[in-house]
Symmetry: C2
């Protein structure tokens, strides 16, 4: 399961929370396994929620538009109870002839239509006797007017911010999440390898990116417009999108970012060069590589994230870029590509087993190049286990 249920129950108990209400696409899928297509495709539009009571006996449930009920049964949702709202026409004659899946779908379609999302959420909370409870409602995905209606309908409930609670729960990954993150990294690495196979003088960034995207799809991933690819001086643009620039001898090729794989994200970076990129690029790359590697070596349960930052930065400074500056040298990753914790100087988080972390040391110099190494690791009892498998060297081809 994606949801770290033991951790969620412990955090709810510690903070006196009676129920979690997920409202963003990320957290609804995380908390329930339910992926409602239109919720993901149109952020800020369709309202979909997952209610997770602290009391396991009360039972979790989904709140969703009637038109999204098929994905409750035909998908990976482990929450099977749903409150629906809105009209949606699907004929379900002769249910005795339906498959078990279609019968479950027909049963959901036959349930009460609660009219709108606010009424459906209110009913779900009342049915679970949560109308006097302390509710951590994620403020990110619920429309403010709907939250106001729920607040008015449940005047005895105490509503607190849920976004920070989900962020805390998601910080420690389940085995299933780690497998998906491993898959996301693998797919991204194959995409980078495919793009580099066509890299030669005269090839455009876009042509390389098409190889990346097609490979990602063949490997089961989804390109989500968040892989940056810049060549030559364009590699210094941090978010560089593949364009029409043609590769030339001596160019740096910078990849940074990733894909989705079973809803989970990747974020890795690699540098290649077409022929020898020159002494200064090799020297600077060697410094940022050393920093990223020492950073990963420092990762183990009990270490402060700020300490990983310090070690990484000190290494880059010492190994050849004394003016290197960063606000962070990495971050957690999961169903979102910036999960907690941040590897930042003022972060007070402690590294724990089960975190999945990206460690990166990007250096951007306008008119020259962007250099970067970013790897992903899962924190085990003994230290960091890599999810990335491409070599760390500056790959010259």
């Amino acid at each position: 399961m994606l949801f770290n249920e033991p951790r969620a129950r412990r955090i709810m108990a510690d903070q006196g929370i009676d129920a979690l209400v997920a409202t963003s696409p990320d957290n609804v899928t995380y908390a329930s396994g339910y992926w409602a297509m239109s919720h993901w495709a149109r952020p800020g539009g369709p309202q979909v929620y997952a209610v997770i009571p602290a009391d396991g006996g009360a039972g979790p449930c989904l709140i969703t538009g009637s038109g999204n009920l098929d994905l409750v049964v035909d998908g990976e949702s482990w929450v099977t109870e749903a409150y629906r709202y809105g009209f949606f026409a699907t004929r379900a004659d002769g249910p005795e002839q339906l498959s078990p899946l279609d019968q479950r779908y027909a049963a959901l379609l036959a349930r009460t239509n609660h009219g709108d999302a606010a009424s459906a959420l209110t009913a779900a909370l009342r049915d679970r006797k949560l109308d006097r409870g302390r509710l951590a409602i994620e403020e990110t995905g619920i429309q403010p007017a709907i939250l106001e209606r729920v607040r008015s309908a449940l005047p005895k409930a105490e509503i607190v911010s849920g976004a920070r609670v989900f962020r805390e729960i998601r910080m420690i990954k389940t085995a299933e999440e780690i497998e998906r993150l491993r898959g996301a990294v693998r797919v991204t690495e194959r995409g980078i390898e495919a793009a580099l196979r066509v890299a030669r003088a005269g090839v455009t960034e876009r042509e390389m990116m098409n190889e990346f995207d097609r490979t990602v799809i063949s490997e089961g991933g989804v390109p989500v417009s968040s892989m940056c690819l810049g060549t030559g001086p364009r590699s210094a643009l941090s978010n560089c999108q593949a364009g029409e620039r043609r590769l030339a001898a001596g160019d740096v090729i910078r990849f940074d970012g990733g894909v989705r794989y079973k809803w989970y994200r990747s974020d890795i970076a690699r540098i290649a060069a077409l022929n020898d990129p020159g002494e200064r690029i090799r020297r600077y790359y060697s410094a940022i590589r050393a920093g990223a590697e020492r950073g990963i070596e420092a990762i183990r349960p009990g270490v402060r994230t700020a300490e990983v930052f310090r070690i990484t930065m000190d290494t880059v400074h010492r190994e050849g870029i004394p003016h290197f500056e960063r606000s962070h040298v990495g971050h957690g990753i999961g169903i979102n590509n910036y999960d907690a914790p941040d590897l930042a100087p003022n972060s007070d988080e402690i590294i724990e087993e089960g975190m999945v972390l990206c460690v990166e040391t990007p250096y951007y110099e306008l008119g020259w190049a962007g250099l970067q190494l970013e790897n992903t690791v899962v924190v085990r009892a003994h230290g960091a286990e890599p999810l990335t498998s491409l070599g760390n060297e500056l790959r010259v081809q």
Copy 2:
């Protein structure tokens, strides 16, 4: 330009609005051309805004994280003024040696760091003397706490809901938008054709979908997990995601949905069948096809959207599905796949030249099949001009 500026100025004048503030990824890109990767990749996370004053002399501007400034200059943004917040390290020595693009980027990086999004937005509004104005701030993309801070900092400003204003402006498309929507439809049609080329007994839905996705990428589109593909009885699941089911003789194959192309969306539907699907499927398809076609014939400027709904429904009822039910028979489409207006019974909108509309008549019967035809048209003075070019027939192969 994507932004329908003359229409926006007219609507702002009519409603006494002094400035629009876009906050969602869709509306920021629509209003400015600026695409901030992390804003799109992590909805609810990074805060990016576009301020469009009614008084053209005051000048529009962007509010964005310092790490997103490269995409202001290296992209399609027609708004060049930006208020930045947050630390981001990019070395920019010797600006005299930089390219013009890098010089513009370096100039943005050298501007004041406003610390956070609320302060940057407040400064941008004050600099434009909008601190006593009527501001239509889109509530969808701004974090509620940030909106509160802006409200407190500008106590003399009147803040009204911006989402409905953008929805109204976006209803009438510019020439550039229509070209992108045409491209999105074309890419989707090529994807469907590619998927059908591999359709034969024993092929899985997923294998067909991979052909679709790879073709979309080769044609310049982005698959965004919103193309549904269901075969046999699975075609009756409205949001059916391609799975491991293998195609068999007599199966219906239902495609519904689309892709992104230059940020614009497609939403079309087609039905194919492997060998003869039988008399009832042919008869029902003929009814829903007649409805979708009569609906499009009814579209011209001045007609009520509710009238298009009525004509479409009446046709399907008369032509063979007397129990056909729908909440709508179509919708606008643009940078989002559900733009205004809806073709719905209680919609009071009037069709106007420049709208782009999807017209659809899906019929779902559990345990049997889902049948659907969905086309996209642009409204011209004389009536509907199709953007779709695939034939409307049930394609038997």
